[in-house]
Symmetry: C2
Subunit: 198 residues, 2 copies
Amino acid sequence: MTIHYPKGIKPLPEGKGVKKSKKLHLGHSAANRGMGFEADINESNAYYLEHDLCLVTKRPTPINVVKVDYTHGAKITQAYFETQSTTDYNGVYEGHYLDFEAKSTQSKTSFPLHNIPPQQIDHLKRVLRHGGIAFFIINCYAIGQTYILAAKDVIDFYEAKPRASIPMKDILSKGYLVKEGYNPRYDYLAVVKAHFLK
Amino acid sequence: MTIHYPKGIKPLPEGKGVKKSKKLHLGHSAANRGMGFEADINESNAYYLEHDLCLVTKRPTPINVVKVDYTHGAKITQAYFETQSTTDYNGVYEGHYLDFEAKSTQSKTSFPLHNIPPQQIDHLKRVLRHGGIAFFIINCYAIGQTYILAAKDVIDFYEAKPRASIPMKDILSKGYLVKEGYNPRYDYLAVVKAHFLK
């Protein structure tokens, strides 16, 4: 199965287009694919919202604002992107709290953990302690499939040093395949319903 | 009871200090008090986090990034504040999804609704439809008390045109008084436990 990314990705809120350009500028085509996957998750959320199936929102990218020019309205003239200390997505399904991160990997053999900041792991542990549903949705670009891996499993791998990645075989065995389609692009809610409700 | 706002409000994440300056610049002392209240809610959340009582995070202020200078790292040189289309806070308590907005009013007689955008009302309706717990925490500055009002009540008032505000007597009768203290500053979780769990 091949994933066809749209050439014209819809503009996303809060400067996502700019972030994408930034990554393109730095020559990270994988990051660009990552942005495409994020756009698809946003579209899936919009579908769920429109059809009243669940309510999941993307947290805006945190930005540290340093200078604002008030000459004509409020124009930010100096600011910097900050790292999200939580995950990108959270929301509610039938009263349950959902919290997840969407990631892409181009590796055929594993999902690298080095770009998951420790504070995100701490955040996910807290979500689980407070009874929330937490997971990663991992777009395995090279094999053309997307899996949901429970936060518990990701945390276990993260803490089993010195491993720096989750082998693809473990993603396939422990993860849940996410059905892809036109609308929703990634039906992650079906996996939540089938495997994450208590 | 008098509320003593600290003179030196702690710096907040994602350019809150700048937003505060912006409002000060515009001469809105009420807005400044509002920022003080928001800072207190953030501190209450930090207390709950530290004591592992619940997990509530503030959504970063959405910012529309227009230009980024990549000469030295990524410096945003043109951007604008956007209106939050959701609420400012959400999180999880014992598996339940929480979603709320923190507001201040300096009026002695009512809580004005004109600065609640319609999309925030839509958002709160969705939260309720999906089984989440939703409310406003309203700092009634003039009477030195803070009340939690269920989102349902705020929505009812909002839709009962041509009312443009919620009378203070209704806040007192329908709302739940939030206990103030040193730590947590506003113990809103006690109200959630007592009145919002099914």
